[in-house]
């Protein structure tokens, strides 16, 4: 709950909302000196990620830090405060026909800092890598209030250690991201979406792989299975005077570049789809494209369980197939970013069934060499499992990281891997 800053059933005794980096520094110093613990909040859209916080006294709401610090369109660089929402930043960039080429869930609420800290990335990572690949500099307020920075605001920089990497995906357990410098890009001149449907998840995934490994890199490629995919396939089929089966699986491909390039990309993509025996496809333009991309996100309402597993693309293909067929497939929404190798799955169901589903999913991911993270599950289950899974030998280094950067356990203690 964003308004109460409740996390996994715990409500903090105090809420702070600093409006400057200096104020953030003072706030953290006070909390750290007072041996209290803080949880950092952005838009609150991904607070469910992570283990159970073991001590939570103060909520530090970062949304007061919402300014653009520096924007130089001609250098393709923007520096923004971490509490700015992704939509607000994109709107500013859009005025110059530019964008940050990454897509997050709930961009109107999700903040830049929160998206980085929780590694909130959508399908565009297929072409542009994760959000971490766009960060060129970062300022961080450490747990004790010390203000630090690394990188800079030019697109190439190897002076000093690349400290920003450490905070991306760290769930705010090593410091508070305060400002971020990004490498930005132009909004492509032409954008098209090709949406196809198949009668099996394997056929869709194989076609997706073929397209990703083809003559060019599409912006995004996702395979979607589950009831929502079936409904969407039927809608698409109706538009196309065709039909979709009760097991339909959707493959969505984003194409973006100059007009002549996109025309060629559409040709290559649709000819691959034909050869891959798609049941049908449509080429979408303008606002129509949005509907298919909504499938990339989590289902409406709050799912009981969400997992994300990353592995090699061929292994992702196997995992998508296994998950869609297993006994746990009941009420599933399955999104495979097959080119990148990520598989996300969402379930709605009874809490009592969840541990069994987790076990099956973990074992399926393990069998294909995947690293599975539980992104959301009922809080009452979190005390018995590490949502990060077994990280092996590097976990020891991660423990020492926490010891170095937050020795008193001020920032979301227990929330990270190994309950760091």
């Amino acid at each position: 709950m964003t308004d109460t800053y409740e996390l996994d059933g715990i409500t903090p005794s105090r809420i702070e909302r600093p409006d400057s980096v200096d104020a953030l520094s003072a706030t953290l110093k006070q909390i750290n000196d007072g041996a209290q613990s803080a949880v950092l909040w952005g838009g609150g859209t991904r607070m469910h990620v992570g283990n159970f916080v073991s001590k939570y006294d103060v909520a530090v709401d970062m949304t007061g830090l919402d300014q653009i610090v520096d924007y130089r369109p001609s250098d393709l660089v923007v520096v923004a405060e971490a509490g700015m929402t992704v939509s607000a930043l994109q709107a500013e960039l859009g005025k110059n026909n530019q964008r940050l080429p990454f897509d997050v869930q709930s961009p109107d609420s999700a903040t830049i800092g929160g998206s980085l800290a929780s590694n909130n990335v959508g399908p565009l990572r297929n072409a542009y890598g994760g959000i971490r690949d766009m960060v060129i500099g970062m300022s961080v307020v450490q747990a004790d209030g010390t203000m630090t920075k690394s990188g800079g605001s030019v697109v190439k920089n190897v002076a000093g250690y690349d400290m920003a990497r450490l905070h991306i995906g760290a769930l705010g357990t090593l410091g508070a991201i305060s400002t971020v410098a990004f490498k930005i890009g132009p909004i492509p001149q032409t954008m098209r979406t090709v949406a196809a449907w198949f009668d099996s998840v394997e056929a869709a995934a194989v076609a997706g792989m073929r397209i990703t490994n083809g003559s060019f890199m599409p912006e995004a490629v996702i395979v979607v299975a589950g009831a929502r995919a079936v409904t969407h396939a039927k809608e698409l089929a109706t538009q196309n005077s065709g039909s979709a089966s009760e097991n339909a699986v959707v493959l969505v491909i984003a194409l973006a570049a100059g007009p002549a390039t996109v025309e060629r990309q559409v040709q290559d993509t649709t000819s691959t789809l034909g050869a891959a025996m798609a049941d049908g496809f449509v080429v979408l333009d303008g606002a129509d494209q949005g509907t298919s991309w909504k499938l990339a996100g989590q289902p409406g309402g709050t799912p009981s369980l969400a997992i994300r597993s990353t592995q090699k693309p061929t292994s992702a293909l196997e995992l998508v197939s296994t998950l869609s067929k297993s006994s746990i497939s009941g009420d599933i929404h399955l999104v495979g970013q097959v080119g990148f190798g990520t598989v996300e799955a969402y379930w709605n169901g009874e809490t009592s069934a969840i541990p069994g589903i987790i076990e099956s999913a973990r074992s399926a991911a393990h069998n294909v060499g995947g690293a599975l993270m539980i992104e959301r599950c009922p809080p009452e289950l979190k005390s018995d499992l590490d949502v990060f899974g077994d990280l092996g030998a590097p976990l020891e280094i991660m423990r020492r990281m926490k010891q170095q950067y937050d020795p008193k356990g001020t920032l979301s203690p227990g929330r990270f891997a190994g309950r760091i």
């Binding site: 001609s74 393709l76 660089v77 026909n97 990572r125 890598g129 994760g130 971490r132 010390t146 203000m147 630090t148 920075k149 690394s150 605001s153 030019v154 697109v155 190439k156 920089n157 190897v158 002076a159 000093g160 250690y161 690349d162 400290m163 990497r165 450490l166 991306i168 995906g169 760290a170 890009g185 132009p186 490994n213 083809g214 003559s215 060019f216 890199m217 570049a257 100059g258 390039t261 025309e263 060629r264 990353t310 693309p313 292994s315 190798g341 990520t342 690293a371 990060f388 899974g389 990280l391 092996g392 030998a393 590097p394 976990l395 280094i397 991660m398 020492r400 990281m401 170095q404 891997a417």
Partner: protein, 481 residues
Amino acid sequence: MSEKSALVHDLEQVVEPTHVVWRPEDLLVYEYDGSIDRNNPGAVVVPSSVEQISEIIKIARKHNAPVVPRGAGTGLSGGAISMEGAVVLALTRLNKVLEIDKENRVAIVEPGVVNLELGQAVAPYGLQYVPDPSSQSACTIGGNVGENAGGPHCLAYGVTTNHVLGMEVVLADGTVTWLGGDAREVPGYDLRGVFIGSEGTLAVVTKVAVRLVPQPEAIRTMVAAFSSVEAASETVADIVASGVIPGAVEMIDRLCIEAVEPAFHPGYPEDAQAILLVEVDGLRETVAEQAELVEELCRKHGTTDWRTAEDEEERETLWASRKKALGALGRLAPNYYLIDGVIPPTRLPETMSKINALSDELEIPIANVLHAGDGNLHPCILFDSRQPEQVEKALIAGGRILEMCVEVGGALSGEHGIGLEKQGYLPLVFTDEDLEAMARLKPAFGAAGMFNPGKIFPTDEQREGIPHAAIMQRLTSDMVI
């Protein structure tokens, strides 16, 4: 006649004695890397397996000897030079491409694999490894990871960190582990990301999983000559601002042209003051679209000569003129000191003018090669290292150029690292708190005092005195060049 130390004796129990170098006259070979600096190592060991490396590290630890991992030694910031009597761990025998996974576009390679050879190994699969430092015919993938190396084609496609999925490393206690893996991401803190570019100070890389991409369907390499560096710089700034991101936008200036023309005969116009080399790649349609825009912008800024490489041979000649420009500088002076600074592309015109003015002021020639598209300058200060006053002048000029970069919001290094060369300049950009936070990575990796000592972080003397004083002292104390 010197005697084997106990350390060398122990090392010879793990690696064949022929692969342990310890006699002072033999160690001289490892005194240098590609930078202008030098210092003698305590010993050099050339292992052939990860097991040996693990044992070597344990032995070094027992003898309180730090370890410096070394690839081909092409680094230009002194990263592979041994300080404090450290043992150099030369990784050149670990030079196998272990696996090429075409479907997943990943290769697993040993750290001593040469960058260009990796490219050749994956080419038959229709794939390529993107980062292409100019030293790619010699530099190694392990070294590229250490320095987060770049190259001309990083403008559109990113540097090493964007193309390495993970690596197997040996930690300071001899433990072998992977940071990252063979997939695009792993859960947990991004140890892979923070490790890349750590200049051999945190652990020793023994395997690298690299990301490969398909070779482009079409490539077009274009050359535009300009009658002034400023006009060429303005063109670059306009190309970047247009949002079209070519595969590469490189520049060389008049002095470089004088060096490369007789060496490679690229056929640049005699009166050209600056040459832009622009390459676009991708689908045929992409290449046509981008090339048209680039040509339009070059013409708008008054290019005096415009041409497109007709065939692969001409393309290679044009690239040789850029990538091997440094070697050709030997025609102009016995030594060069290459500065690796970065500025915002919009500040190119004024910065290039300032560098020319500096050259006049100090009466020392400066030849410029630039990864212009990303604002990565490589001014090459030409000097004669046998003349101590010229050495000092070169170091002063280098420092002044770095200050210029910082003044316009740039960076101290785009791809070569800090090493020994620039540690004195880090306080220009980073506060004590920033550096302190960085320094804590070493204990976090359990590596405090163990790997590549004396690098990156400024010493107290450097903070208080002249940043280049230590290098000057090393270079002039026993000048033998």
